[in-house]
Amino acid sequence: MGSFMILFTLLGGITLSAQSSINGTLGRKAGSLETTLLTFVTGTLFLALYLLFFGNGNLGALFDAPKWQLSAAFLGTVYLLLTVIAVPKIGVIAANIAGIAGQLVAGMLIDHFGWFNSLEIHLDGKRILALGFMALALYLIYRGNKRSAAQAEAAA
């Protein structure tokens, strides 16, 4: 089940990356806030249609769910806003990499402490070694993107 979940999540990453490219293209014409709004509206429409026919959860329980769980809706907006603030100051490449680092470290912390009633997975030697590999990967992306940017500049 675990490996299947990982493949499924890889697919999530693939679609997210395609989404950023598509939204980047549309955003240059329509504006980024407008594009984000369109993303949320169409996502809502697709999901509403799906739920009408195949929904087997309990959407009504939304009103009984603890408010801290509902407040997660603002975190996506927090991500967008902070990114918009950081990009002009430190550049797209650095902002993306710092963002990924924050995502990975926060993920490890949530696992370690079992925050939000999530699965508790403690930081052990293997996980610390893995953090080293992640840091190396981020450094390599930074180098790779810098090189691409330099080449693009040289070509222009």
Partner: protein
Amino acid sequence: MRPLYYLLALLAGAALSFEGAIYAELGKSIGQVETSFYNFAAGTIIVGLLWLFFGKGEISQIKRAPKWSLLGGLLGVVYLTSIVISVPFVGVGVTMVAVIIGQMVMSMVIEHYGWLGSEPTPVNKEKILAVVSMTAALLLIN
């Protein structure tokens, strides 16, 4: 001043992990696709308000844009739903590492071929090694 902006970018990424962990919990009580629906509906309200007051772009461009460029929302649905489903099984750490690998590989391919309106940027060995290193991390923590 610059370190502050790095910190903001770090927090932006952390927000995504918190979002995943919290929605996983909501998904257990109301259902995963329902949670995804809630996220997009609430996001529509939040961003709709922001757009009303601060939108400076041209929303009418959406009608003139090629239809494929309107599919971002559908792709976002796949992403969010996959997270809500996966986190309770493998934890937030593994989920985020897997998402990031998927993103890294796909953006390399998209940029290499200049798909989806992106600027063509050839893949280089640093980027490939980055994927290898991130995959090693995934194997270690899984």
